[in-house]
Symmetry: C2
Subunit: 210 residues, 2 copies
């Protein structure tokens, strides 16, 4: 398998965690978002959305980080990244989507570029925007984790929700977001970072880290 990704892309980081949790070897194919390598015709031929990550598995490829992780979980079932029961799976997916739909899309590179470009938003206002969605979005996750606390987001083993939570915290720390209001979130984050799969997948461990 080949993973087209970028060390600092949090959607890429999600999939790297899942691959590490599954113990799957893969070829790391760096695509620099800073150098706009994702916008080249070569990458566009691989992924029409021109987003990372993209998983190539033989002749086929899968885009969208959550779809990739579900695909990995279906094709390599052990260890499972979703609980055995439908309600548990719903909770894990819902927590993952609380971040993947409500926080991250508002703060990715192309959106920040649109704010300061066409909308001429000042740098300070852009950073306030960033922190607003992170801090309010994580407050929701905090309440949900506090309502049913466990070592990881859901239960005693890492799931899809943890794959999505951890990269969001890396982003939050990089942009100086307030995190004092989310102690349960940070407790789960620390539990994840004590797990070697999360350590190995983190941006600083990537071959294209700079």
């Amino acid at each position: 398998m080949e993973l087209y990704n970028f060390f600092r892309s949090s959607a890429s980081f999600r999939v790297r965690i899942a691959l590490q949790l599954k113990g799957l070897a893969y070829d790391y194919k760096p695509v620099s978002l800073v150098k706009n390598e994702h916008l080249t015709p070569g990458y566009g031929a691989l992924n029409v959305a021109r987003l990372v990550p993209l998983l190539k598995d033989g002749d086929t490829s899968v885009s969208q980080s959550l779809a990739i992780i579900e695909y990995l979980d279906e094709t390599v079932p052990e260890p499972p990244l979703l609980p055995a029961d439908a309600l548990g799976r719903a909770r894990v997916r819902s927590l993952a989507l609380d971040i993947a739909c409500e926080i991250h899309p508002l703060n990715n590179l192309r959106v920040l570029r649109y704010l300061v470009g066409p909308l001429k938003v000042a740098e300070d206002d852009k950073n306030t925007w960033y922190r607003h969605w992170v801090e309010t979005g994580l407050a929701v996750v905090e309440q949900r984790l506090a309502a049913a606390p466990s070592r990881y987001c859901h239960g005693d083993t890492p799931t899809l929700a943890d794959c999505v939570l951890v990269p969001q915290i890396f982003n939050a720390q990089r942009f100086d977001c307030g995190l004092d209001h989310v102690p349960q979130v940070m407790r789960v984050f620390e539990a994840c970072m004590a797990h070697e799969a999360f350590q190995r997948a983190q941006p600083s461990a990537c071959p294209d880290a700079s």
Copy 2:
């Protein structure tokens, strides 16, 4: 089952389509986003994220539209809303996420309110922002559908991807987005709207429609 939702919310519309496709009866619980009913303490007690839709099923509840649809598909398998093969499921989920993560989060009500509120973005610029993400996002979906055309987004029966696509087109039409560049998308949209489940779920058919 009870569905807390709003007739014009496209995330709500996705779940209504899934419920109709499954032939499931449910109590329609209107939550007006325009009247800020989702921000009341009463609704907050049901859903800490204060977003619609929310599915209540007995003592339990599920939030996030895609998680709800996966939950429905697991608990009421017929007719399936995901293909039988892992690669097909990955494609359907990825298409759904191309809309649910790349288009819709940028255009929902709270984001538009933040643009014109704190960021003081002019009405025209807000509408350009809206159309930008719809038009560029649907162009990606168009290329993906054109690469493997079928009656619906994937195959001859509606899937999760169609549940997500159709509400996005309703939004696009409401905000006068360009759609001439996405003929495959519109062909699939027409096929869906010829299906009575989509007809029954549409905003104008809802009890709270205004």
